[in-house]
């Protein structure tokens, strides 16, 4: 497949691993965080953690939108399914995410449609007299598409369509992590497709104010390795900048048209992240002009924070404070078949990736090498 397989060429892997080794020697211990679930999966699939030099650790950050969606949101979505004449439309990943009382999959008898695109949710609304509520979850990659669908719904005056919005922004979450003194992160592998929309500029605060090198990376294994090389070169040269490895998709200014659409429909506000609390200016909310599409308003929903303790240490995992196997639930009471926390539910969650790729056969226990 063009533009995919050539970035997986195993013959080129060794020279990049060699280069990483040479660059890492002489550098102190470094914790590098990826903030994208798709990177987490690439890293897991390639067994990259086991191949890196001793002093280089990769941490999985809050890079999966499903994982960072709080209980209160799920509870509100589940509450909606209890009403008559409502059809919920959602990305499949949300189905098993636990709220404080169960998940969407357990809502038997409710009408829930799993969709691949917000366009499908709108299409359902066109064909039914029921109220269709789309669970608008996702980072900057997804928000412009949802904005476009809202504009279409407004143009066509579709009255039975609304959204429960939980869109989140990545750079404010990265800055929030760095403000936590317990968190030890030395540099970031920045998400490629989020950056295709927002460009390189929003990360400059991470490099300039917090002095952490950032490299925007593509999603094939050679992309990730090259991004690591670029990060290590920055450490060698004692500088912190935002660099783009994924230049075939990411322009320095991002996608202006997509950014414009996003700004037309959404405004930025403070948002709650699972395990991280409320992060200032880290969420998107429908603007006043489009508030008729806001499910919270239409159905007078209340998003109530729950204090339920499950033992799941998702929050610490998302911050990179502990690795998934350090959670007492991991692999015991929490597995992909019976997930307790969202990081195990989502196919791109850190716990699911560790469970799948890092548990070494025969040993049953995770270890770095």
């Amino acid at each position: 497949m063009r533009f995919l397989t050539e970035y997986r060429d195993t013959e080129k892997l060794e020279s990049l691993y060699g280069r990483i080794s040479r660059l890492a020697s002489g550098l102190p211990r470094l914790n590098l965080m990826e903030v994208c679930g798709t990177h987490t999966m690439t890293i897991g699939r390639a067994g990259l953690r086991r191949r890196l030099p001793e002093n280089i650790s990769l941490l999985s950050g809050p890079g999966c939108p499903v994982c960072v969606t709080p209980d209160s949101y799920l509870d509100a979505a589940i509450k909606l399914t209890e009403r008559k004449n409502i059809c919920l439309a959602t990305f499949g990943d949300m189905m098993k995410v636990p709220g404080s009382q169960g998940n969407l999959e357990e809502r038997q008898g409710s009408e829930i449609a799993v969709v691949y695109s917000p366009l499908e949710a709108l299409e359902i609304a066109r064909k039914t007299i029921k109220e269709v509520v789309f669970l608008a979850v996702g980072f900057e990659t997804t928000a412009p598409s949802v904005a476009s669908v809202v504009l279409t719904a407004a143009r066509e005056k579709i009255k039975n369509f609304s959204l429960l919005v939980a869109h989140k922004l990545i750079p404010p979450a990265m800055a929030c992590l760095l403000q936590d003194r317990k968190v030890k992160i030395d540099g970031f592998i920045c998400p490629g497709h989020v950056s295709a929309i927002i460009g390189a500029r929003p990360y400059r605060v991470i490099a300039e104010r917090y002095h952490r090198p950032c490299v925007i990376a593509g999603f094939e294994i050679l992309d990730v390795l090259q991004a690591l090389v670029m990060l290590l070169v920055q450490f060698q040269e004692k500088r912190a900048a935002v660099e783009i490895q994924y230049s075939r998709c990411v322009q320095p200014a991002g996608n202006l048209r997509a950014r414009h659409l996003m700004a037309e429909v959404f405004k930025v506000g403070d948002a709650e992240w699972r395990g991280m609390g409320v992060i200032p200016k880290s969420g998107l909310f429908l603007k006043k002009e489009y508030s008729e599409f806001d499910a919270v308003r239409r159905f007078s929903l209340q998003l109530v924070k729950s204090e339920k303790f499950t033992g799941c240490r998702c929050g610490d995992i998302l911050k990179g404070l502990i690795a998934p196997p350090d959670c007492p639930c991991f692999g015991q009471s929490c597995t992909p078949a019976r997930p307790k926390g969202p990081c195990m539910v989502s196919s791109e969650g850190a716990c699911a990736a560790y469970y799948r790729y890092e548990l070494l056969p025969g040993r049953g226990k995770w270890q770095k090498s």
Partner: protein
């Protein structure tokens, strides 16, 4: 969830297009991208093209993988 793959644009009509990957065709929206033409590779996510693939940069990156420095060099 931000998974997106490069797919080739094979049809275009206004803001709608058809893309192809390995023989599979899919209808997508083109609202988020400027100046795309049939034959372009687009990055497709959740039913929308979110960016056009830059061929020159794609080749440049591949070339960087090939530049293997001699042992001892960085």
């Amino acid at each position: 969830m931000c998974l997106a793959v490069p797919m080739k644009l094979v049809e275009k009509k206004g803001e709608e297009g058809v893309v192809e990957l390995a023989g599979v065709r899919r209808k997508i929206r083109l609202d988020l991208v400027d100046n795309v033409r049939v034959g372009d590779y687009l990055i497709v996510h959740a039913g929308f093209a979110i960016e056009k693939l830059n061929l020159k940069e794609a080749k440049k990156t591949l070339k960087l993988f090939q530049e293997i420095p001699a042992p001892g060099q960085k």
